[in-house]
Symmetry: C2
Subunit: 214 residues, 2 copies
DNA sequence: ACGCACTATTTTGTATACAAAGCTAAATGT
DNA sequence: ACATTTAGCTTTGTATACAAAATAGTGCGT
């Protein structure tokens, strides 16, 4: 995603933690201990602190009342608010994407969808989760606006562990992958309203499932 | 804004730097030297680094190619993209706010506007800039959705120094404060489309002025 | 006088040390 | 037996030290 600079230590740590949280390996409410992480990554507390600090600045982690940082944990009400915001942003992304759709963007979306399908068929949960993220990311990128993509991605990360919980069985994966098809068609229709509404209903569905699982 | 916790050292530093950047005191492209800041705030480099790291995570600062961090500097194209994203978010905020408007929210918006007017009359540029931010913040808060407010605020901060440049004369302040009136009326109309479109044209105007000044 | 290389200095990244603030728990007093 | 305080242990925040990277500068050779 970023430029040609090789990943520095804190970038690496940040990326690993982000991934583990979005996959649901580190669960909401879990405490992250600086010393333990330092030992795990074989570095001192300093770069760990920097990574944790950045993650809290992004809202992925939240500082505890008195001490420690925790994986962000949201109540149903808070989740509803976050999803409302995501609704707006994702709908806007879908609309803009539908207007600007390039061949490259189309291809990348289809490619990501293919990955979703194959991961779903294999029943590989972690792979599906990553492919699903890549799919939505491809849509964001299709807007041609990195800043829209950035905030959409940010929300996606925050809700990662909660959305992850709704994928329990192989059928869940298959159903999700199928629903992508309709979404793609709506976006590829190149009609703003169709694309935007398509994304809204996709997000609503996602929210319903997420609430059930949490 | 936050809870009852007293501002820690890094929070204080972060807040001061954020303010100085949004006011335009620290200009885009300026380099921030860790050692100098450490001396200035009378602390060691450690908390400075943490503050800078958090600010880069928020996109307010950007890391230089090889070394140093700089106040984020955007080309006209990039500014256009950021403003496009702001358009979408602010429009959504205005729409939601118009639907949920509470007496408290109304009052706070009006109060912020009063501050804008008086700062404009006094010709106090810094005070107007702060009041203007408070005004928009009040609208975000009126959505009742802290997450919408959060991203809207984030974009506002990023574009702060660029928008700040368009306020050169006392007349600029007065004109801006006046245009708030129409925006308020549109939002208070409690009609979604009116509110949303009102905000869109306000933002478009803001963008035009910003481009002229940059 | 110009270019190149090598050195010195600044600056960043990481580690370690230390002090302050919480938490745990045990011991003492009632 | 229960509450309260205090002692000890964890954990965090900040400072300092040190090593690696990068820039600037200096001198040397041609």
């Amino acid at each position: 995603m970023s430029s040609t600079t090789k990943p520095s230590t804190v970038q690496r740590i940040e990326a690993v933690l982000t991934d583990e949280i979005s996959i649901g390996e580190l669960k909401p409410g879990m405490r992250l201990d600086e010393a333990k992480l330092a030992e795990r990554f074989g570095v001192s507390r300093t770069p760990i602190r920097e990574a944790l600090s950045r993650l809290t600045a992004q809202g992925i982690l939240i500082p505890g009342e008195k001490r420690g940082v925790f994986v962000a944990e949201y109540s149903r009400e808070e989740l509803a608010q976050i999803f409302e915001a995501m609704h707006e942003i994702e709908a806007a992304c879908a609309r803009i994407a539908s207007q600007r759709l390039s061949l490259l963007a189309r291809t990348e979306i289809e490619f990501a969808q293919a990955e979703c399908i194959s991961a779903a068929k294999a029943g590989d949960r972690a792979a599906y989760l990553r492919a699903n993220e890549a799919f939505h990311l491809a849509i964001y990128k299709a807007t041609g606006n990195p800043y829209m993509a950035e905030i959409a991605t940010e929300f996606r990360r925050r809700t990662g562990p909660f959305r992850a919980k709704k994928f329990a069985t192989k059928e869940d994966l298959a159903r999700s992958a199928e629903s992508h098809r309709e979404l793609i068609d709506n976006i590829f229709s190149e009609d703003s309203a169709t694309a935007s509404n398509g994304m809204r209903s996709h997000m609503t569905e996602s929210f319903v499932e997420t609430l059930k699982a949490n």
